[in-house]
Amino acid sequence: MAAGEHSHEGMWVFPAPEAVTQDMAEKAEAMPKAIARALAVTGILFALGIAGFVMRALDDGFGAHGPWGYYAAIFMFLFMVTGAAPLAAVAFRFTKSHWRRPLSRVSELFALLGVLNVIMFIPLMIVLPSIKNPEVGVEELEIRRSIWFETPIGAPLAWDFLGLLFLAICSLAILWLSAMPDMAEGRLTATGFRRKLYSLLAGRWYGTKRQWILHKVGLGLLGAFYFMLLVFVQFTVASDYAMSLVAGWKDSIFPPLFTLTSFQSSLGLILVTLFIMRRWGGYEQYIGVSPFWSASKILLGLTLLWAYHTFAFLITFWYGRLEIEQNVLKYFFFEAYGGAFAANLFFSFILPFLILLWNPVRKTDWGPTLAGLSALCGAFIFNLKTFVGAFNAGDVYAIFFEFIPGPTWPDLWDVFMVVGGLGAAAFIYLAATRLFPILSVWETKEGAKYQKMDTLVRGRYLVLAKPE
C-alpha cells in the first residue's frame, strides 16, 4: 500500500482504453486447451443427459408426473439461476455503480440459456396434471387448487410457456443490444466467421450520439421489463410445479422465497464465473477486487433475507396447528426431506453468512466466490427438495395433503438427467464465451473515463464520477 494510498490493493483497475480493444480481439480469437477440454467434457455430460431423458421417457412415459420429479428439479434449478443472472447487469446499471462494469457481460451471456430453458420446459408441460379433475373420487376436488382458479384459456401451460419464451427473447434482446457496440468493434478486428456474424449483428451501429442515447434508454426499458417479467414467470412456474401439486399447501411466501433464492444463487454463479476469468482466464487487468467486494455485501444481504423468509414461513406454519401445515412441515422440512432441508439451510445461509461476516474476507476475490458457490449448492438442494417432493406428494386432487410419503431417491436415469442438465448449461455458456466478447468493452472504456485516483490535501483517493 503506497504512502497515502487509500484504496485496497488491486481493488480498482483502470485498463487503458486503447489496449482493451486489441487484447479482447486476441482473446476472442484464441481457443485455449482448457476451454476445449471443458467443452468436450460438458458435451459428453450433455449427451448423457439426453440419454437419461430418453430412457426415462421409455420407462415411464409421460402419463404420470411422479417419475419426472428430478427432471423438474434440474429444470427449475437452471431456470432459477440462469433466468435471474442477467438481472445483475440490469440492476447495477440502474444504480449506476461503476464496479459492475466487468461483471455485466458475464451476467448477460446467461441469456443464451433462456433458449435451453424453453426447450427443457416442453416435457414438463406434458406431465403436469390437468387442473380439472378427470374423474372425481372420494373426498376429491373437482378443480385442484392453483393460481389459475377457473382455468382461463390454456392455463397454466400456455401461460407458463409464453412467459418463458418472452423471458428468453427479452434477455436475448438485452444481450444483443448491450453487445452491439462491442461487435461493431469486432467487425474490424475479428476474422473469419466471427467477422461476418458481428457485422451482421452489429447492424448499422456507428456509435453516434443519438445511437448511444437510444442504447442507454433501450437497455433501461428492456431491463425494467425483464425484471417484472422474470418475477411474474417465476411466480407462475414455481407455484404451478410445486405448491399446487401438493393438495392444500397454501403458502403465500413461497414465490418470494423462490425469487429470493434465484437472486442469491445467480449472483453466486456470476461471482464464480468472474473468479474463474480473473484467476485462469487472464482477465486480471480488467477485473479488480471491487466487483467481488461490492457484490459480497449484496450477497450477504440476500443471504440474510433468505434466512428471514424461510423463518417467517417456518414459524407461521409451526404456530398454526392446522393439520395440513403440520404435514407440509413434516414432509418438506423435518421428516421426509429433513436432511435435504438441513443441507439447504447450511449451504444457503450458515456457510455464506459465516464467510461473508468478515470484512477482510469480503475484500478478497476468493471469499465472496466461496460464499457464492455455497449459495449455488444451496439453491440446487432447495430445488431438488421442493420439486422432487412436490412431484411425489400423492393425490393432487385431494382436499388436503393428508398422507405423508417417504423421500424419493433418484435412479440412474435421474442422475443422468441431473448431470446432463448441468453439463448442457455449462456447454452452451462456454460456447457462448467463444462467440461473444465476454468482457463488455464499451462499459470498461466508459468506466475508465469516470474513475481515477486523485489527491485531496495529502492523501490519494479514488474519485468516482456519477453522470446525471
Binding site: V138, R321, E323, Q326, G394, E402, F403
Partner: protein, 268 residues
C-alpha cells in the same frame, strides 16, 4: 412454581347429543346464574357484548313448508391444542392436567388476543364493570369470583363444582378419591344438570363406566387410525364428531350427529 398435582388423573369431557337437544335454552339460564354472569341487558346485546358461556345456535334447514330447526349448543371446547392458549402473553389461560382449559382472571391483562384466536367464539371480554340490581346480590354464587372489567372469561366446565366434589369426597371418604367415589357425588356442570333431555353429558373420559368414556374412545380411535393410514379408505359411518376437526384443535367436547327420522326433502 409448579402446577398442583392432580389427586387422581382426571380428563374431563362432555358429549353433546344433538339428537336430544330441543333448544330450550335451560342450559344457558343455568350457566348465567351459576357462574355469576352479568345480566345481558338490551343495550348490551345491541352493543354485541353479551356474555353467553354456553349458547344455543339455531339453524333452519329446508324450504317452507317442510323446514326443520337445528339446534347446536356451543360452549368452550376445552381444546387439547387450544389456539387461544399460547398467544396469551401472561399465562392467563393454559391447559391444566385435568384436560381443562382454565382461565386465571387475576393474571389476565385483557389483550383480547385469545378471543381473536378462538375459532369457536366462546371467549367474552368484560367491557364494563359488572353490576347487579341490589336485591339480586344474594343470588350470586359464592364459589365463583366476579370478574372485573378488562378481563376475559369463558366456560370453565363449572370447575368450582368439580373442586367442591373433590373436597367433599376427601372430607367424607377419608380422602379415598377414585372414579367411583367421585361419581357418587354425582356433580355436573350447571348446564348438564339443567338439561331436561340429558342432551349434555359430562364425565371423566378415563372412567370406563362413565357416560362419555366410550364416545371419546371411539373418537380418539378414529383420529389415531386416520393418522397412521397412508391412503384413503371408506370409514364406517358414526355419529361421533368434533367441531372444526380440520383445525387440529382436538376439543374435549364431542358432538353426536342428529339421527334423521324424516329427512328434509332437498330440491333437485
Amino acid at each position: 412454581m409448579t402446577t398442583p398435582k392432580p389427586r387422581i388423573d382426571h380428563k374431563w369431557g362432555m358429549v353433546v347429543d344433538l339428537d336430544r337437544c330441543t333448544g330450550c335454552q335451560a342450559c344457558v339460564v343455568a350457566c348465567q346464574s351459576e357462574n355469576n354472569l352479568p345480566i345481558n341487558t338490551k343495550d348490551v346485546f345491541l352493543q354485541r357484548r353479551a356474555y353467553e358461556w354456553i349458547r344455543i345456535e339455531r339453524y333452519w334447514e329446508g324450504e317452507f313448508p317442510n323446514v326443520k330447526a337445528r339446534f347446536i349448543p356451543i360452549m368452550c371446547q376445552h381444546c387439547e391444542n387450544a389456539p387461544c392458549e399460547p398467544v396469551c402473553p401472561v399465562f392467563a389461560t393454559y391447559h391444566n392436567d385435568e384436560g381443562l382449559n382454565v382461565q386465571v382472571y387475576n393474571r389476565c391483562i385483557g389483550t383480547r388476543y385469545c378471543a381473536n384466536n378462538c375459532p369457536y367464539q366462546v371467549r367474552f371480554f368484560n367491557y364494563w364493570e359488572p353490576v347487579w340490581p341490589e336485591r339480586m346480590r344474594h343470588q350470586l354464587n359464592p364459589d365463583v369470583t366476579i370478574r372485573s372489567r378488562g378481563v376475559m372469561e369463558r366456560c370453565s366446565f363449572c370447575i368450582q363444582r368439580i373442586r367442591r366434589a373433590e373436597l367433599t369426597v376427601e372430607r367424607q371418604e377419608q380422602g379415598k378419591l377414585d372414579h367411583k367415589t367421585m361419581k357418587e357425588r354425582n356433580f355436573l356442570p350447571a348446564c348438564a344438570m339443567a338439561c331436561p333431555t340429558n342432551a349434555l353429558q359430562f364425565g371423566d373420559q378415563g372412567d370406563a363406566s362413565g357416560p362419555v368414556h366410550h364416545y371419546f374412545e371411539e373418537a380418539n380411535h378414529r383420529l389415531e387410525e386416520r393418522h397412521h393410514r397412508t391412503e384413503r379408505v371408506e370409514e364406517h359411518p358414526s355419529r361421533v364428531y368434533r367441531l372444526l376437526e380440520e383445525m387440529g384443535t382436538k376439543p374435549n367436547v364431542i358432538y353426536l350427529k342428529r339421527v334423521e327420522m324424516f329427512p328434509v326433502k332437498k330440491e333437485a
